[in-house]
Symmetry: C2
Subunit: 353 residues, 2 copies
């Protein structure tokens, strides 16, 4: 779990104080990975103080992180500096947070990041790493995974060393998120809750977190009583609780199929979840009904026809990726999932998208 | 925050595996502080494996921990062993968990524990420490404090180093808690929620945790739909969330006055909270009404007349202790609390108890 958290509007201003206690020396820099949407955004970047050899690296987030990208970022650091960094700080959405987590792990674990995709393969503690979300919903700020697209699969590096040592939850940082993006990423959280709460892996720990996040999502996306700031504050907490819920259970059908879309077509995770979830009435009747209500209330158009021009071999790739995520299916359907989930069923679903 | 948590019925069986990774050598023992209610309880104690110089120390819990007791326990360890322990494990209620936290801190911080009562006075990281609650409600398993009765005050050692490195939440361990104790300690959690949710320090972080714990308490103590096991599971989560809620806000009137009772009369915290809270309609009208409903539903008699024979100097001691807890009053009443809370008002309240 995350060891330390500060919460509150303006808490981003505490970053300097927090990091100053962790500096290991002038040759051990802090590396800041920042979503490139903030390039030239003085309001945010002026509050990042660079000392000695510290460096901001702006990260394009049109594509989700890949194992090759992580290995390159790690190599860049090793070639440029004589010592390991004092810390890795991710400031952005799920992509940037996952990059920060993966780089901090791969600086202390030998080999290529693709070799660590899976569960509990990491052997050594990561470099000190800090996560600062600037959009709410992914749960990446609290999770024990970092999802990477590798040569053969899209799968996380899941380990006890993956979670951030420090998280700063400053809802003000989400104020300029475009509406569509706000919805798609918020729905990532909503889908986490539905998949966790209806899953066979559910326990009282996950349930209590999932229920709270579910309630917050309904208040935020269906209610009318919250101020803009209250909605920002609460969505940041919903993301947190939703992430905690799946950390102790598992996600399900929407995530498995969304990973297929992501792997083949590069569809980003939030919107991919929405595209898939919209067609999952058979698996999550109540959740999908609420989702459709939220979508209508906020006039959100979910892209359609993205699979229209695919051929059978491409569908097969997506189906292979989705089916390889066995724990997700087992959570969603039960131990006998293989008798229920057929390639034909997934093909029919993908064809609708 | 707590770094690692496992949850689930029977998860206590994982203790050996968890500790084996943390052993520093044959001269660095694990010290297990265990509530002496478990002395001779083979069901629990047979699952604690002692190797090398490991030791179980049974702790009487009639009284709450004092600074003198902590200093003695620390001295005992230093005199008996040539190396610092590999870890300190607390297995019990709030008293035992607080002892484990305090001892682990004082093994690495010089001087007497009374010198660290307050906020952020601890300078060095504690010895690795593990908390395993056997009763639910105190929030001690998740909090960043360890409440000690010192020579001049009852006050916690509040620090970033106080929280456990590892918590095991096994609801099965609470199965033999007597009914009265179950209620008093559960109400500690309920009071945490009320004090946090109505306080001026409230923020979206604390609110989301406090609301969840509040809902769980109502389900457990007013509902009729839960099985015995479900109620145990959920109360353990309520305690956790209630503790998280106050960790990021503060407690209030009931805790301030209960500390007075505890300091002068040795009234234990859970029951002390109930005695006080029962008279706090003026401060927490909704919360106290629900409390009275819960009390009636479970046929719980709250002790009365405990202050009947006290003289003015004794009341003054309790009032001094209560009033010294300034952050609690500021949270409950606001920055102008001193104009509202008079010694006379507290005297009248204490006289009712």
């Amino acid at each position: 779990m995350v060891s330390r958290v500060v919460f509150g509007r303006g808490s981003f201003n505490q970053l300097d104080d927090i990091l100053s206690l962790k500096r290991k020396g002038r040759n051990a820099p802090f590396i800041f990975y920042v979503d490139d949407v903030f390039k030239g955004n003085h309001w945010l970047t002026s509050r990042i103080t660079l000392s000695y050899k510290d460096k901001i690296i702006y990260v394009p987030t049109k594509e989700e992180p890949s194992t090759g990208q992580i290995d390159q970022l790690v190599e860049d650091i090793i070639l440029e500096y004589s010592e390991l960094p004092s810390g890795i700080i991710g400031i952005g959405g799920g992509t940037v947070l996952d990059i920060a987590k993966a780089v901090s792990l791969m600086l202390t674990n030998k080999g290529e990041s693709k070799d660590y995709q899976g569960w509990d393969l990491i052997k050594h503690a990561a470099i000190y790493h800090v996560g600062i979300p600037t959009i709410s919903g992914t749960g990446a700020e609290v999770s024990r995974t970092t999802i990477l697209t590798g040569p053969v699969r899209k799968l996380g590096i899941n380990s006890d060393y993956t979670p951030f040592d420090q998280v700063i939850l400053d809802p003000e940082l989400t104020k300029d998120v475009p509406k569509d993006q706000w919805f798609y990423t918020g729905m990532d959280c909503f889908v986490h809750c539905v998949e966790s709460l209806t899953g066979t892996y559910l326990n009282a720990f996950s349930e209590s977190y999932g229920e709270k996040a579910f309630e917050l999502c309904k208040e935020i996306f269906l209610g009318d009583s919250l101020s803009v700031e209250e909605a920002q504050d609460k969505l940041m907490m919903a993301s947190w609780h939703g992430g905690m819920s799946i950390a102790y259970s598992q996600v399900g059908v929407a995530h498995a199929m969304s990973y297929g879309l992501g792997y083949l077509l590069g569809v980003k995770h939030g919107i991919g979840n929405c595209i898939v979830f919209d067609h999952l009435e058979a698996f999550y009747p109540e959740g999908v009904a609420i989702f459709k209500e939220m979508k209508a209330k906020h006039n959100i158009e979910i892209p359609s026809g993205i699979c229209a021009d695919l051929d059978q071999s491409q569908f097969d790739i997506m189906i292979d990726v989705a089916l390889s995520l066995e724990p997700l299916w087992e959570n969603a359907i039960g131990k006998n999932w293989k008798t229920i989930i057929t390639r034909q069923k997934l093909l029919e679903l993908y064809k609708k998208m």
